[in-house]
């Protein structure tokens, strides 16, 4: 599963990449195009998932613990 996942990602990277000049970054620079476009929404969603499910991780580190039930 993990191998397939990484292979697919590698194919995506090598097959579709196009060099981008600084003046072509207008769309990428927009807030809505950030990988976390709305930190407040993400923080709340992550905390709920952390409280109600048995999994965590992948997005970042830190953020503080809670005894959520």
């Amino acid at each position: 599963m993990k191998t397939i996942f990484i292979l697919l990602f590698a194919i995506l990277l090598t097959g579709c990449m196009t060099p981008i000049r600084p003046w072509e970054r207008d769309l990428l620079a927009q807030q809505k195009m950030q990988l976390i476009p709305d930190p407040m929404q993400s923080e709340v969603s992550e905390k709920i998932a952390y409280s109600k499910e048995g999994s965590t991780g992948g997005l970042g580190v830190g953020g503080g613990g809670c005894g959520c039930n």
Partner: protein, 429 residues
């Protein structure tokens, strides 16, 4: 004539020099002037409600400001009020042959329950708690392409404290087409129920309960990853995170029911027991694509740990730009989880398990589906306001625990001194 011209030039230079010295700030780099140090404030308030169970009101305020050239600080405060009832692991729908006892925790009331044939315990524990948390961070560009940030966290509840520090680095390479990231954090948590942590596998009905004092839990989180610009409209990211938990990982409020195999009725309720360490792994893939106006985000995470929990999480968000700064975002999240090795809905009676057992449904075979919608509007060019509503259904794939419905309403306002023309829908001047 020649001398007069030279004198006039000298006088002009002297006047210009005096003028510049008299207006000292003009000599400072532009980025160091207070008016040009950008800032951003975000405030959110939310209401989280489970059907017939927990309700949470939460308010978060964060403020970020540049404090110098390529350096910034941010502060964040959170306040939660939690009330309601939470599943404690006792079985649902036991035979109605005896009296049912309601459990109240965590803070303030120490109780002893009657257990034995015919006695049942309410599978929901009522509680009330308040949480306050603060986070402070300081970041700066160490070189034009290398960014570092340190973060500190504090969190306090009536029965749980958390202290954490961490740091992140990100490094842009290959003409900023690729960004390498890494992070490390350390958290120390204290689990401190009002009447102490219970002895694992002890009956909740014992007349002389043993209390263990407060428990400590240490967490080390690490992450490495990279993000890659695919083309002018597509960005992707791949992360791997490793989390190590160590210490008191048992939940002091969770029970497991002992069921008489012959009668199918509860005979006792024991406090659960979990291992004292956990190694957790996650691979996370996130991609954003711009359709010139609309934007779609898709992410997938595969998670596994040494407790036997495996999970798949998919998240899809589509932001539809409407008109002049109005937008509508729909989201869908799907989560499936395989149970921990020691997860058991109930125990068959004597002998007691020699290792670990928990009936916490969050370690069981879970399916969670969430659907959400968010409406955003720009009020002026520097203020964005959004309203979000999410509906979540959490179900047990084994159909032993009842499904849980969750609704979430969240209102957020963001204020910045920078104009985001792309969001506001107005052309730059």
């Amino acid at each position: 004539m020649q001398l007069d011209k030279k004198r006039s030039i000298r006088q002009a230079l002297a006047l210009a020099t005096c003028g510049v010295l008299a207006h000292g700030p003009l000599l400072l780099p532009v980025s160091l002037q207070a008016a040009d140090l950008s800032w951003k404030a975000d405030m959110t308030t939310l209401r989280y409600a489970e059907n017939g169970r927990v309700s949470v009101s939460e308010h978060i305020a964060s403020f970020r400001r540049e404090v110098g050239e390529d350096e910034w600080v941010s502060l964040k405060f959170s306040w939660d009020a939690i009330t309601g009832a939470s599943a404690n692991g006792a079985i649902f729908n036991p035979p109605q042959s005896g009296s049912s006892q309601t459990v109240t925790s965590p803070s303030g009331i120490s109780r002893t329950y009657q257990t034995g044939q015919g006695q049942t315990v309410d599978p929901l524990t009522t509680f009330k708690d308040t949480r306050v948390a603060a986070q402070v961070s300081n970041g700066q560009f160490l070189t034009p392409t290398l960014k570092g940030e340190v973060v500190g966290n504090l969190s306090f509840e009536n029965d749980y404290d958390s202290y954490g520090i961490g740091g992140n680095l990100s490094w842009d390479i290959l003409q900023r087409m690729t960004t390498l990231t890494g992070g490390l954090s350390l958290d120390l948590d204290k689990v401190k129920p009002f009447d102490g942590n219970p002895k694992e596998f002890e009956s909740i009905g014992t007349t002389t309960p043993i209390r263990l004092g407060q428990g400590e839990k240490r967490t080390i989180q690490s992450i490495i990853g990279f993000s890659q610009v695919i083309n002018r409209k597509t960005l992707t990211q791949l992360n791997y995170s490793l989390t190590l938990n160590d210490g008191y990982l048992t939940d002091p409020y969770k029970f497991i029911t002992v069921v008489d195999p012959a009668l199918g009725a509860p005979t006792d309720y024991l406090y659960e027991k979990r291992p004292t360490s956990r190694v957790r792994n996650a691979i996370f893939w996130n991609t954003a694509h711009h359709f010139t106006e609309d934007v779609v985000h898709f992410s997938y995470r595969y998670y596994w740990d040494d407790w036997g929990v495996r999970s798949h999480t998919s998240d899809l968000r589509y932001r539809l730009m409407l008109w002049r700064g109005h937008s509508l975002q729909t989201s869908f999240r799907y989560y499936t989880q395989m149970a921990a090795d020691f997860y058991q809905y109930s125990l068959p009676g004597q002998p007691l398990p020699s290792s670990f057992a928990s009936a916490d449904y969050r370690l069981g075979h879970l399916i969670t589906q969430s659907t959400g919608i968010k409406y955003s509007i720009h009020m002026g060019q520097q203020v964005e306001f959004s309203l979000r509503a999410d509906i979540t259904e959490q179900s047990d794939a084994d159909n032993l625990f009842p499904s849980l419905g969750i609704t979430l309403f969240q209102a957020t306002i963001s204020i910045s001194d920078r104009v985001d023309y792309a969001q506001s829908g107005r052309a730059p001047p």
